[in-house]
């Protein structure tokens, strides 16, 4: 045995040591295993979060999400990443950490019972969690990022339900008050009296639906609410045409518009009814 014969082996060992240093010391699979292990307990905590049924519960749930995500991001930063994947992992961690801001915003907004800010934050939270999940899953992580989706969806659904309940309660109250005002009006028996009735009725109707439009739309229901209010806009436009026809004494046109009105009102009412707003729909005056 001579040193001469160990030469190639020593060279190989040195090269291996050098490569290990360049590679940051861990393989991807090792990192993934450690990272998913680190995210597991936080995900378990979030899994225990029940669907919020009111704003204080929503604030508490959002706070738990924020704290958990911060802890998970901190834990991931402490794990040595494979050298070649450092940029990708930094992106995964950044996306995960980005979830904390809307979660805190939601905690804050729900704590202040600020429906508009709550709706914005709950939507932003879901978007950030979706992005974090996609990025983490793309890298091969199964618990980090992806594990947030189910609990955050529960928070989102709860937030939506809480905001919808508030929307329905407010819209229903507005409709009940406006129905009362409309009930007090007298349509009269002549075309001229009907025209005068519409002069008072239409502003009540317009104000009612302007007020409803100003309410905070429950997140995820934007299209349904827009569709419902667009159907009512057709009713209002038709009512205005009817007012003009009545003021001109054009009874034939008033009759034609009356048929149209029935169709528009049915469409609109069926949408309000389906959304849980029967006092703004079939049981209302508009």
């Amino acid at each position: 045995m001579s040193l001469h014969r160990f030469g190639p082996l020593v060279g190989t060992l040195a090269l291996a040591a050098g490569l290990a240093a360049c590679g940051g010391g861990v393989s991807k699979s090792s990192f993934v295993s450690k990272a998913d292990g680190a995210c597991g307990s936080g995900n378990a905590t979030l899994g225990g979060v029940a669907k919020p049924t009111n704003l204080p519960e929503l604030a508490t749930a959002a706070g738990t999400v924020a704290t958990t995500v911060d802890t998970q991001a901190g834990a991931l930063r402490a794990i040595k990443a494979p050298g070649d994947d450092k940029a990708a992992i930094a992106g995964v961690i950044a996306a995960l950490a980005d979830v904390a801001a809307p979660a805190r915003a939601l905690q804050d907004a729900a704590g202040k019972a600020d429906d508009a800010a709550t709706a914005r934050a709950v939507t932003a939270l879901k978007a950030k969690v979706d992005a974090a999940s996609t990025q983490a899953t793309t890298y091969g992580l199964t618990a980090c990022g992806a594990g947030l989706q189910t609990p955050v969806n529960t928070v989102f659904d709860g937030g939506k339900a809480v905001l919808k309940a508030a929307y329905v309660a407010r819209a229903d109250a507005l409709c009940t008050a406006a129905n009362r005002k409309a009930d007090a009006l007298n349509q009269g028996s002549s075309l001229a009296a009907y025209g005068r009735y519409l002069v008072i009725y239409i502003p009540i109707e317009e104000k009612l639906f302007a007020d409803i439009k100003a309410l905070v739309t429950p997140p995820g229901d934007e299209a349904t609410v827009a569709d419902m209010l667009a159907a009512q806009d057709k009713v209002i436009a038709n009512d205005k045409d009817t007012r003009a026809a009545a003021q001109k004494g054009d009874s034939a046109q008033v009759d034609r518009l009356g048929d149209l009105n029935n169709t528009f009102v049915t469409q609109s009412n069926s949408k309000f009814d389906a959304y849980g707003l029967r006092n703004c729909g079939t049981l209302g005056n508009f």
Binding site: D259, N262, T263, T266, N269, S270, D273, R278, T282, L283
Partner: protein, 281 residues
């Protein structure tokens, strides 16, 4: 060595003399089917029952001719032969419901027209699937699209009748319900009025449900039927509550009945039945 080789070639030719190869068959078959398919697909969409009868009669003749032509073609042997025979049988199967459609349209029998059109479409779908799987581009495959035009025509014809019959029933219903007069002011007289109203309404629902359903609109018509049942059910419940002397419950149920009525009217309107729907009195 030359003699055995020639003998072998002759023997192989003899063995292989069991028809054309697949590509040759497909080319010949499609060429045989193309003119007939063209005749069916260029027929104008029928707009009334006599036109449906004429168009379906043409389709029957065409399909039968295609089947005869395909059976006359030499087929590849082996597995292909069985597959081709199944395709030809599937195309032949389209003929019977198309003939039934012709007969039904000749008698202006909407229910039979609707049933035959659905059968025809199902058989054409089956023929299309098997023909396409074999690689035919005309036989079976194009037949489906040609007949699709006729199916749409049948649907329109049956729907026009459906709409006309339903709207007539609804007008008659309104005339009769107007004749009931106004409900009395006591719960007992109101309950009597409601009984008469419910008898009329139950009959209307039954009569509308008995109108032949336009083919392809089964789900929509079923949905209308469900909405009618829901509204009628709520009115009946309200009537029962009223008879039981539970006015508060009756009022709540009448409100629910109104909501169910709106949902029903929205469906009638969407199907083109404004008299049964929102513009009815």
């Amino acid at each position: 060595m030359l003699i055995p080789a020639v003998a072998l070639a002759a023997a192989l030719t003899a063995c292989g003399d069991d028809g054309p190869n697949k590509a040759e068959f497909v080319a010949k078959a499609d060429a045989a089917c193309a003119p007939g398919n063209n005749a069916i697909s260029t027929t104008a969409k029928p707009t009334n029952a006599p036109q449906v009868a004429t168009a379906s009669g043409t389709a029957v003749t065409t399909i039968d001719s295609q089947v005869t032509a395909l059976r006359a073609l030499k087929m590849p042997g082996g597995k292909d032969k069985a597959q081709i025979q199944a395709i030809v049988a599937a195309i032949a199967d389209v003929s019977a419901p198309t003939k039934a459609l012709q007969d039904a349209a000749g008698k202006t029998d909407d229910a039979a027209m609707a049933k035959a059109a659905l059968d025809m479409q199902a058989k054409a779908d089956a023929a299309n699937k098997s023909a396409e799987a074999y690689g035919l581009a005309q036989c079976g495959t194009q037949l489906k699209f040609g007949l699709g035009n006729m199916f749409d025509g049948v649907k329109n014809v049956v729907k026009a009748t459906y709409v006309q019959k339903a709207e007539t029933l609804c007008r008659e219903y309104y005339r009769k319900s107007d004749a009931l007069g106004v409900p009395g002011s006591t719960p007992a007289s109101f309950a009597r009025y409601l009984d008469s109203f419910l008898t009329l309404t139950t009959k209307l629902v039954t009569d509308i449900k008995a109108i032949p359903t336009p083919p392809g609109d089964e789900a929509t018509i079923a949905d209308i039927g469900t909405a009618m049942d829901a509204a009628l059910g709520k009115f009946k419940d309200a009537g029962e509550a009223l008879k039981a002397g539970n006015g508060r419950l009756a009022i709540g149920l009448f409100e629910e009945a109104d909501v169910a009525n709106t949902a029903m009217n929205a469906r009638f309107d969407a199907y083109g039945l404004p008299v049964c729907g929102s513009t009815g009195p």
